[in-house]
Amino acid sequence: MSHKGKIAVASGKGGTGKTTVATSLAVTMARKNQTVPPLFLDCDVEAPNAHLYLKPDWLKRKVVSMQIPEIDADQCIHCGLCADTCQFKALALVGEKVLVFPELCHGCGACSLVCPTNAISEKDNPIGVLESGSGLYGIQFARGVLNIGEPMAKPVISELKKWALPEQDQVMILDAPPGTTCSVVETIESADYLLLVTEPTPFGLHDLKLMLELARMMEIPHGVVINRHGIRNDSIEELCEQLGIPVLLTIPFQRKIAEGVSQGKHLVDIIPAFEEKFANLAQTILETIAANKAVVGSTHEGSRYEGGE
């Protein structure tokens, strides 16, 4: 199946404007191509907020569960093999009882495999939900929501990506969580392009460097958007120039933008001149994706990363 591309929007530092950029990109693409509007995945399952901008009508829902071990005390011979096998220490043999610690469990199932008396069965433990629906301008919207108190976001994100699939020739935009943790890695894994939103502050710069390292390690073509441009002088542009990473867009630090975004408005509506900038951004990204696919297609050993301009 060929689809036009999977674009992940991430940042490193939280609050730089990922959702603002990702939703404006989706809205611009949907307005320009009404036959196949993009699929938008809100992968920030701990604090989803993209629905505030894309306003979906919810149509489908699915519970996400992890498999947690349950010990049958009658069958258990307290050999301790399950506890020894568990690399996450979610099981402990104390006296003649096996204790299960669900928050540490990663659902790998190794314990139930090694138990010599089949005393371990796997019980469904709901950890979150997946929701999808139809948003503004025909944008297909899907998100995951982690239950409050659950420590592990990654399984919900990976289920979301398997559940909400793009159609042929449909662009998919993934709004990543903040940070550079395994939630982010799970979100951006197998993306065709990584758009990094940063801001010219010390934390913005520091966390951008972490994301750039991640992007290089995962071999995903990437480019930068500088938001709140003008807020300080921190040298994002110098860094990008040194590393040969394209700065595809800058968004100025303006009260008007913050006000509009806080009211659920799209950046491309708050400042209409941005509609064209986002259209160009979309085109640049899609052209880069297409160029890379051509390289990979023609030479099997070809490097995935072609770079920006």
Binding site: A92, V94, F101, L104
Partner: protein, 110 residues
């Protein structure tokens, strides 16, 4: 009676370690014979679940009481399931002082 104290160095005169799951050493003391033995805590290498691993190890040592600064929720559950009595440090600075307080019934129950 065999008791266990979390300590920073492998010695009866060592400063106590306020942590349980990530304590540097576990010192077991036989309060009848005054014999003691220091064990490095192998649970410290765990990125997660140190409390669980430490509690399981301690539960295998045949001690009746554990004295530390505090116990995390997972360690607490494990130790309580093992039926071990738990105490916390007060003014004691060294393992020796803890043993003395234990003998005089002056330790604070957790």
């Amino acid at each position: 009676m065999k008791i266990l104290i979390t300590v920073q160095e492998p010695d009866i005169k060592s400063q106590v370690d306020p942590r349980f799951g990530r304590a540097k050493y576990f010192l077991t003391v036989d309060t009848d014979t005054s014999e003691w033995q220091a064990h490095p805590n192998s649970a410290v290498v765990q990125a997660h679940g140190a409390g669980v691993a430490a509690a399981q190890w301690v539960s295998e040592q045949n001690v009746q009481a554990v004295i530390s600064g505090d116990f995390g929720p997972n360690a607490l559950r494990g130790l309580q399931a093992a039926g071990i009595e738990l105490f916390t440090f007060d003014s004691q600075q060294t393992a020796e002082e803890v043993v003395e307080s234990y003998r005089q019934n002056k330790l604070k129950k957790y």
